[in-house]
Structure formats: structure tokens, C-alpha cells
Amino acid sequence: MASVEAERVDNPSIRSWFGAPGLVVTIATLIVGVGPLGAVASAVLAIGWYHLSAVAVFCIGQIALLIFSPDAPFYQFAAAESGLWIVLIGPLLSGDERWQSVAAFVLAAGALGSIAWLVRIVTDTLWPTALVLGICVALVAYGLHRYERLQLGLLETT
């Protein structure tokens, strides 16, 4: 069973070639907008994309944008961020139910983003926004977990 799990994690579909265009866009933006440091960051992203998962590359890319182009123009930031989101969505497009996957992702991202934006506007501080965001994700995840156990008849009745 261990060999099956290892094969699954190392499967290129986990990072998915669908995300490759996004990575290219991000790398190009970093090189053009940042310069040599951007190239270094791009190399890190490329290596990370080959050896790590798409989510890891997404997170590294966020950190890289923060470090190497904190004051970049909006269009550069938007391009790089879009590329990273394409990298993140890539694995969702590689399965059989790709459109359902993308729809679920868009729905979840839209809902979480809307909630975060509302809280940010109301409170005008970051930490309540972060807190509410975390609570929302945890609640939804737990709700889905309970629903799944109900479907399988694994809920204990009192």
C-alpha cells in the first residue's frame, strides 16, 4: 500500500500540466518586473513546481511576490497572481469531473473571498478578517465531514 501512495503523490497530475501556463505567466512577470532577483524567484518556483505540489508552489509564489515585489504595479501583481491561481487550479482540471471541480473551487473561493472582503470593510483590520476566514473554512470542512459520515451511515445514533 505504501508504494501505491507514493506513486499517487509523485504523479505529475497532482501538479498537472494544466497549471504550466500559469507558471509561465508568473515567471515571466517576475523576471520582467523584478529583474535578476525575479529570475531567482522564478527558478525557485520552477524547481518547486517540479518537485512539490501545485498548492506548495502557490504558497511559495505568494511569499515570493511579497518579498520580491511588494510595491509592484497593480497589473504586474494581477498577472503574477493570476498565473499562480492557474497553477492552483491545474490539478482540478486533470480529473474526470474537472468542471465540477472547478465549479466547486470557484464557488468556495467566491464565498470565502466575499466573506473576507465584507469583514475587512466592516472592521478595517486584518486580524478579524483572518480569524473569520479560518473559522469559516473550519466550519464548512466539519460540516462536509458530518454530511459524509451521514451518507455512509457512520453517524452514531443516540
Binding site: 499517487r8 498548492v55 501583481f77 497572481e81 491561481w85 492552483l88 486584518l126 483572518a130 476566514l133 473554512v137
Partner: protein, 481 residues
């Protein structure tokens, strides 16, 4: 649903983004956290959807073969998993035999239905050493998604059961010529008058009492019908002779001739105990009596314990004892008229005939009965458990025993116990037929009854040969006419 280490790692990354967003006051990092959170929730939705589809459509089946088995024999468990569509997830299925079942490893009990496949099956071999009814748990399914984020475990399928019988004689047949005997212990003819019948209590007649028991003298005296109960005093003794010589150690393990007669003898002792008769016990080995108990109307459990502990002895000579009967010996001797040199040479050996009984003193069973008879009093019921290996000895033993009373013999036909004895059913039937002739020869003696003891299924197989032959003979003649 369980999350994996990878899920926790990704969740930790999103927490890092959130913390960095707050610490460095960078809202853009919250956008990243939103993306990661949405990605995890989307993956979870997809996993739940796939698991629900599998749960609804999966067909898990376990089949045990055979459903009745003897302890420590191999049984096969075939289990299969199938879906009407290509599996969206990887499924690891593991069968869970009962704890008492042995013979299979975890790897053998596990099958893998990979993503994209529809069916998988396997068969494993088990054995259950403990007798009883055991039930198999349903198959456990371990489902995991392709991104290695979530796992789920649940059980599906039927729960077959198997009845495991203890090793030992099964389907014990006790009967005559293939027909089961309905009653063995109970009413039997006695060569002696019944002993005193003592009147016991007198009680008023109640509906249901037999009219034959109404005491008319008491009824006339007391002006109401009264019934008299009687007690029968007997001087009846039962002597059990159980042959446990080497020849009785024939047959599969725990299903030898000795095992079969042991079961019948145990039941017989129970019946004797219920009747309250005196019971004597003699175990006969290759070198004579190995255990004995004088007849007493108690300690039946001690006799049963001795029966359970009985083991076959070893014949020191290990030579087949094939003796001819006295009648045949006399016929052969009568043909000698001294015309040839061969007959002249043999004549002196037939001139002086030592008593036949003295030659039989070398036979342990005969000797055991001969030495025990003088110590038995009253009406003796001799019960002999042996086989048909030494027919002359059995014949002479029965002849000797019937002088003292009724004789009951339980014979085990060797043909039903020899390994490979039923390989040729025609030949086996012929051997059984000679056994049946011998049994009938003994039963024709007065006050003697002989039963066959053996595995009923093997006897049915032997007798079915004859039945088929008679059927083909009948239908063949009908067709030709």
C-alpha cells in the same frame, strides 16, 4: 473521513499565509489563504461526492465454500468488489475472517481496486480449528482520493457464516443392511424368566392410567377404581466388550473404526445408566484385556471416561490372523483319503484334532469373553464392539457369549474405513456384500443381534452402486420388452 499528513501540511501553509498577512499587514496574503482554503474545500467536496457514488453502487460479496466443514480442514473464501462504472477513487478492500480462523496473511486478504478499474476478486484459503458457528465480518473498504488528502473507511457486503464441526465421527450409521436401527436398547428377548415382580404403590385411578393396571380386588374393597404400580426386580447384567486392537485404528484421523464404536458405546452406556442396569466393562487390546470393571449398577461415568481415553494398541505380531472355521476345516480334512503323497503327508496333522476352542485362546476377544463369563451372574446381556477383520474369532466369541444370555454385536465394516476403499465402488460393494452375509449369518443365531456401524455417507455411496445397478437392470429390461 480522515485527513492525511499532506492535508495537514497544506492547511499549515494556509495558516502561515494568514499569519504572515496579519504580521506583515499584507492583505494580498489573505487572498492566497482564500485560494488554499477554497482548494481544500473543493477537494473535500469532490471526495465526498465520489465516496457517495461508490457507497451507492458498490457490490461486495463474500462466498464461503463449503458452508459446513470439519475443524482444521481448509475452506476457501472468495470475495469480490465490483462497480458498474470505473472507480473514481482507489479502494483497498480487506476481508476480515473471524479471529479463530487461521491460514491467511494480511496481504492475502487484501485486494486493490485502482482508480479506473471496475472489478477485482480474490480467493483465500483458511482453516478454523475451533468447532462452532462462526460468522465473517463484512469487507472493510479503505478509500482514498488521488491527491492523498482524505481517507475513509467503511464496511460493506454480506456476512457469511460457516458451521465448523469438531473432528470426529460424523453421520454415524447404526443399522442392518443399510437401514438405520430405530431402537437398540430396551425391549429384548431374555433366555431366562423375568425375576420377581414386586407390587409397589396403590393409587386412585385417574384418566389416562392404563386399564390393565386396575387392581380389581382393591377396587371392590374400596368401592373406587385403584391402580397398582409394580417394581420389577431383575438380575440382569450388561457386559461391554470393546475391541481396541490395532485393526480398529483404520480410517481417517479422528474417524477410525474405534472412534465410531466409541461414540455408539458412549450412547449405549447412557442408556444402561438410564435403565439403572448393572454394567461391566472390558477393553480388549492386542495382548488381552487392558481394562476391566466388574458389573455394578453405578459408576457409569467412569466407564464413559475409560471409553473416551481408549486408544488402539499395537499388534506385536502384526500378522493377519486368518483362521478357517471348524466346519470348513472338517470338510477339507474329510476329503483326505491318502491316495496321493501330499495327502499322506498331511494325514497325521488331521489325525489328532485338538479342541478348536483351545486354538482360539490366542484370540484376545474370545479369551476376554471366556474369562469374563464365569463372573457374570443372572441374565447377561453381552455387547461386543469390534470389526470384521477376524470373522472366525467374532463368530466363536458370539457362540460362546450366547450361552449366558442375549448378545448384541456392533460391527464396523472395514471397507468403509480403509483409505481409498471407495475408489472402486463396485469392488467396495462386493466387499460390503460379504460383510452383510457375515452379519446375517451371526444374526440368524438365536438371541443374537448384529448391527453395522460406520459413516452413513460412505455406506450410502456403496449402496447407491447397487441401487443404480438394479435401476439400470429394471429399465433395461423394460426398454427391451
Amino acid at each position: 473521513m480522515q485527513v492525511t499528513r499532506r492535508y495537514r501540511t497544506i492547511a499549515a501553509l494556509s495558516v502561515v499565509l494568514v499569519i504572515c498577512a496579519v504580521v506583515f499587514a499584507r492583505p494580498v496574503l489573505l487572498v492566497g489563504a482564500v485560494g488554499v482554503g477554497a482548494w481544500l474545500l473543493a477537494r473535500q467536496c469532490l471526495f465526498i461526492r465520489a465516496v457517495s457514488r461508490i457507497n451507492t453502487a458498490i457490490d461486495v460479496e463474500q462466498v464461503i465454500s463449503p458452508e459446513r466443514a470439519v475443524a482444521e480442514t481448509d475452506v476457501s473464501l472468495a470475495f469480490s468488489i465490483s462497480l458498474p462504472f470505473a472507480s473514481p477513487l482507489d479502494i483497498i478492500a480487506e476481508a476480515h475472517p473471524p479471529v479463530t480462523a487461521t491460514g491467511s496473511t494480511h496481504v492475502e486478504r487484501t485486494v486493490h481496486l485502482a482508480q479506473g478499474e471496475r472489478t477485482v476478486e480474490t480467493t483465500i484459503t483458511l482453516s478454523v480449528p475451533v468447532a462452532g458457528s462462526v460468522e465473517f465480518d463484512p469487507v472493510e473498504l479503505n478509500v482514498s482520493d488521488t491527491a492523498d488528502l482524505f481517507k475513509e473507511r467503511f464496511t460493506r457486503g454480506n456476512t457469511p457464516s460457516i458451521v465448523v464441526e469438531p473432528r470426529g465421527p460424523r453421520n454415524i450409521h447404526v443399522g442392518e443392511a443399510g437401514e438405520r436401527a430405530m431402537q437398540i436398547y430396551g425391549k429384548r428377548p431374555s433366555r431366562r424368566r423375568a425375576a420377581n415382580i414386586e407390587p409397589a404403590e396403590l393409587h386412585e385411578y385417574v384418566p389416562g392410567d392404563p386399564l390393565s393396571r386396575i387392581d380389581w380386588n382393591a377396587t371392590a374393597r374400596l368401592h373406587q377404581p385403584y391402580v397398582r404400580e409394580y417394581e420389577v426386580e431383575t438380575d440382569h447384567e450388561t457386559a461391554l466388550f470393546v475391541d481396541h486392537r490395532e485393526a480398529m485404528d483404520c480410517g481417517p484421523a479422528d474417524e477410525t473404526k474405534l472412534d465410531y464404536v466409541r461414540q455408539v458405546a458412549l450412547t449405549f452406556v447412557d442408556n444402561v445408566g438410564t435403565a439403572g442396569d448393572s454394567l461391566g466393562w472390558y477393553a480388549v487390546g492386542d495382548e488381552g484385556i487392558t481394562d476391566r470393571r466388574k458389573p455394578v449398577a453405578s459408576r457409569y461415568e467412569a466407564v464413559k471416561q475409560s471409553l473416551r481415553e481408549l486408544r488402539p494398541t499395537v499388534d506385536p505380531a502384526n500378522e493377519p490372523r486368518n483362521r478357517i472355521g471348524p466346519q470348513r476345516a472338517r470338510r477339507v480334512a474329510g476329503r483326505l483319503n491318502g491316495r496321493s503323497a501330499f495327502e499322506t503327508t498331511l494325514a497325521p496333522y488331521f489325525a489328532e484334532r485338538e479342541p478348536y476352542l483351545e486354538r482360539l485362546e490366542d484370540d484376545p476377544l474370545f479369551e476376554a469373553v471366556r474369562t469374563a463369563m464365569p463372573h457374570l451372574r443372572g441374565s447377561v446381556w453381552t455387547v461386543v464392539f469390534t470389526d470384521d477383520t477376524r470373522r472366525t474369532e467374532v463368530r466363536e466369541t458370539v457362540t460362546l457369549a450366547r450361552r449366558s444370555g442375549y448378545v448384541l454385536v456392533f460391527l464396523t465394516p472395514t471397507v468403509l474405513f480403509q483409505p481409498g476403499g471407495l475408489a472402486d465402488l463396485e469392488h467396495a460393494y462386493e466387499r460390503y456384500r460379504t460383510f452383510e452375509e457375515f452379519r446375517r449369518e451371526l444374526t440368524r443365531l438365536d438371541y443374537v443381534r448384529v448391527f453395522e456401524v460406520g459413516p452413513g455417507d460412505r455406506l450410502d455411496a456403496v449402496l447407491s452402486t447397487e441401487r443404480r445397478r438394479r435401476f439400470s437392470r429394471t429399465h433395461g429390461s423394460t426398454t427391451s420388452s
